[in-house]
Symmetry: C2
Subunit: 210 residues, 2 copies
């Protein structure tokens, strides 16, 4: 199944909304309600769900629990996926604290840094190791995905250790775009880009007199 990346992102977002509905005891939701929460059209929601083969819209709308399980069957691996954070500055710590106890299929099980003040300590129960031990800890913890929240300057030097350790996916928050060989997924999410995009859209809005 070849699902566009934007649809994958929306499925993840729908699921989070559905989980929140489920917690509140809401059993059914109409496509136009789900659409309104996400600021998109009902057509878009129905198209996304059609794409993954979900089509049990009833008079009461989608069954929340059934749809959660269906989306999970698409997005999630069967086993929990172990994640490591490289760079335990504020961003690395924010990501680690954000994840703990969220009940996701992804879990941060190790952190890495080179700062002696951080190595040997824990953040929210996640131990921080020295980068010198990266390969062995990755193997020991069966880590598949890494988050890069190191200083940007350090990012290019991490490519070889990441490849050598057999990492399969990289979420790169530094401002250095990184390339990896086929077989390793990399998503570059530079925060500066997000800011500059919002700023440009605001400028355009103002120029068009919106």
């Amino acid at each position: 199944m070849n699902i566009p990346e934007k649809t994958i992102e929306r499925l993840s977002e729908y699921r989070r909304t559905l989980l929140s509905c489920h917690e509140k005891g809401i059993t059914h939701i109409f496509s136009h309600v789900l659409a309104a929460i996400h600021g998109i059209t009902a057509v878009q929601v129905r198209r996304d769900l059609m794409l993954i083969g979900f089509s049990s819209d009833t008079k009461k709308g989608y069954d929340v629990k059934v749809l959660i399980d269906f989306i999970s069957s698409i997005l999630d691996s069967e086993e929990p996926v172990n994640v490591a954070v490289i760079g335990m500055g504020h961003l690395g710590q924010a990501v680690t604290k954000y994840f703990n106890g969220k009940g996701l299929k992804l879990r941060i099980t190790a952190a890495f840094d080179i700062d002696p003040d951080k190595v040997g300590h824990e953040v929210d129960g996640v131990p921080c190791y020295h980068m010198d031990h990266f390969e062995e800890i990755v193997e020991e913890h069966d880590i598949h995905i890494v988050v890069l929240s190191s200083p940007s300057k350090a990012a290019p030097g991490l490519v070889i250790p990441i490849i050598n350790a057999g990492i399969k996916g990289v979420l790169n928050f530094t401002s250095r775009p990184l390339n990896f060989p086929p077989g390793i997924v990399v998503e570059n999410y530079d925060i500066t880009t997000l800011f500059e995009k919002v700023s440009y859209l605001v400028k355009q809005n103002e120029e068009s007199g919106a």
Copy 2:
């Protein structure tokens, strides 16, 4: 000019690479080199630059300084844009520290929280105010854009204050998608979604035996 959002993101990324080249004394760069750094095709780079009307490719490649200035004329406002951060937990502090001294047209000039341990203090020279004073500080600092890095639960309650204060753009890092009336740009960047996307792509890679 109607530029696709993905092109805007790439222009921001190209510029950052070009700035780094410029610092190193590199005066010219070929489209295929710029493309390789960003893991895309030279055709894509040329298409993006054609879209903004830049076409001064020479035998030596693009003039780095000229291209930086051209992209800046598209992306940047003439005046620096003031940004505020709402929620000074780890993520808010990470964003603030990340921005200081980057020499961007965007600058974080105020932060907000409700925690008495944070209000009245500074992070990297940025003062933290109580949310009770949001409207007046926004006006005083001429703030146009806010970053939401508050706990997700608090996000829906921030919509009205943001509208009332006349904010024009919102970069929402919480896991609650937020809707605003036309005239206010909102970009929802839930970190969970980024993780779930990478995880899905890794899973798909493994299934296809890549």
